[in-house]
Symmetry: C2
Subunit: 367 residues, 2 copies
């Protein structure tokens, strides 16, 4: 059951929670995915009786929080209403005033929260502040969905590194590419649409120098209405990739070793991040405000991350065709079968000629 504080004297027993409104709040929050780092994506809806009277989401760091937009929309109808918020309202003065105070000032009667804020500056204090003001607070409604949506923010706050999502498409015999050149992608158009949506929703996209050299990929978001491009991150130990490659657009990051010669890239205005290990690279990327990263690189990059335990989530398109000889998605580490890393929270979805299988290797960081 959800955690609810006892209703203050003179107020009727706890009102029923309608999860559909939290679903709407989560849909609102999704509008900020890939745009709010280092802040979380947050959505809020204000409900008066059964009527939705306000909604909003946090569009990007430095702009108002979700609650502010929702309260603006509700106006006077916020008085006595219920606010559904995907993350605990903040209680501290950051770039904007505390949202808990805004909800109190608007006369909201109840606040329903999906998940507590893992930020040590908030971490329950937002809820406490609301309760002290006599507002009924319910915590934990669609909590798992909310935490999943906030994986990047939570990873940044709790672990000091981005949430890493490995994505690849392979044939039913486990090949991500053929050894002989030819036309045709591994997976179909629905898989491509999903990938483009993920590029829109995650802060960064990472490839290795091998992929850069072979394919010269644009690493952009295409075909998503209102979409924006993720920040390209190229792992290139020798800093040998061409500074003219298409990936080197504004904001692109070259990750290389501490002692490689990246002067050509620096001269071209590319951000150079020097890291001895993939873990160091992730810390450095966190410092640049990257809260989530889509690992779209080839087997070398993916193997390096997996061997270090740095892949948090996996999204694999399994294409229902057989190739024969070809490139494997992973070529290391050399473990015995009983040490294979098992996914949890697995989902399976047929997608045209492909099957999308997703799962987590690590838990979503919590408070």
């Amino acid at each position: 059951m959800y955690e609810v504080n006892a209703p203050p004297a003179g107020v009727a027993a706890a009102l029923p929670v309608d999860e559909r409104f939290m679903t709407l709040a989560l849909e609102q929050a999704a509008g900020g995915l890939g745009r709010t780092a280092p802040n979380p994506p947050v959505g809020c809806v204000i409900v008066q009786g059964d009527e939705l009277v306000g909604r909003g989401f946090h569009p990007r760091a430095g702009e108002p929080h979700a609650e502010v937009f929702a309260l603006q929309g509700a106006g006077e109808r916020a008085r006595g209403a219920t606010a559904y918020v995907t993350l605990e309202p903040c209680s501290h003065h950051g770039r904007t005033p505390p949202c808990a105070d805004a909800l109190i000032a608007a006369g909201v009667r109840r606040v329903v929260v999906a998940a507590l804020d893992p930020n040590p500056l908030v971490a329950g204090r937002g809820v406490q502040r609301l309760r002290e003001a006599g507002i009924e607070v319910t915590v934990g409604v669609l909590e798992a969905q909310a935490e999943r949506q906030q994986a990047g923010f939570r990873s940044l706050i709790v672990r000091g590194r981005p949430w890493v999502v490995a994505k690849y498409a392979m044939t039913l015999d486990g090949k991500v590419a053929a050894l002989r050149e030819g036309n045709g992608a591994v997976s179909g158009p629905q898989a491509r649409e999903h990938t483009m949506r993920w590029r829109d929703e995650l802060d960064a996209i990472a490839v290795g120098s091998g992929t850069l050299g072979l394919d010269d990929p644009a690493l952009t978001t295409r075909g998503v209405p209102g979409g924006r491009d993720p920040r390209p991150v190229v792992f290139d130990r020798r800093a040998a990739s061409r500074p003219q490659a298409r990936a080197w657009r504004d904001g692109a990051v070259l990750v290389t070793t501490p002692d490689s010669d990246a002067s050509a890239h620096e001269a071209a205005g590319i951000t150079v991040l020097r890291a001895g290990t993939p873990a160091d690279a992730l810390s450095g990327l966190a410092g640049l405000g990257v809260s989530s990263m889509l690992l779209e690189g080839g087997p070398t990059l993916l193997s390096a991350f997996l061997a270090q335990g740095l892949v948090d989530e996996v999204r694999v398109f399994v294409s229902t065709k057989l190739l024969g000889a070809g490139l494997s998605p992973l070529t290391a580490p050399a473990r015995p079968m009983h040490e294979a890393q098992e996914l949890h929270e697995v989902t399976v979805e047929p997608l045209g000629p492909d099957v999308l299988i997703t799962g987590l290797l690590h838990d979503i960081p919590r408070v």
Copy 2:
């Protein structure tokens, strides 16, 4: 719509078909899977009004056909009844008298047939004989399911070779085995249960000499009530495998090249089949009455069959874990991606920690 003959004069319009009875007939037929070759698995139920009054299946070659058992069960209540049969009743004298005649003699009013018999000795003549006797005949009810169940028989009759089902289990990074020894199977207990059921249902099970040498597998059916073991078929070009291996039980077949020295195997009473190519081997196995074969061998055997276009159906367990370095299910042929072989009639089923993906590479042989 189904194909129905015009009702004879004095008889009411075509009766409605109840597919549930054909489902029961298919369930009956399944009792003969793996036991009837070179005959088909066939099931029959007799329905009087809405009541099931008889049921039966063909248990093995040389024993009575499904219709005979069902009519025996129905007795006098077969008169005026409807018979649901998964395959067109035979019209020729084989080892048993024609089933069409038995249905006519029992006074059955209507016969509902799932699929026509591809055997040129029958091929529509069974239906014709029934119609000539004034029986209403409906053809094509749950036809696709029936044809799938009869894939082995159909392959043997139409193509002169067994229906070949390739089965393997791989990790989500496409590995069927680790490079380092250790405990743990690729897939979970549900996958094992499915595999054992398939071993019970298919005539033969094939492995290569590599698998035999590494694992010394028993290739038996375990944990299936009333199960029977498939015929072991070992592909061993050099005839170098130990004649003491567990696979060499009664009925086992060694497939080797025309000029290899298989005297030790012959001396041990093992059936030796000499074939220059996998296609020749399949013809030879057909001659031994093998109508269906589960290909459980390693990458070498599977690659050889796939390269020659000799895999008809694929059943893959995708385990939701990541291994790293390992063995791929297929290592040849070296095709470009656009020449990958696409599956059709795909099914996707989550099975505990695994996902079962099945599909066809060839159509089920028809009339």
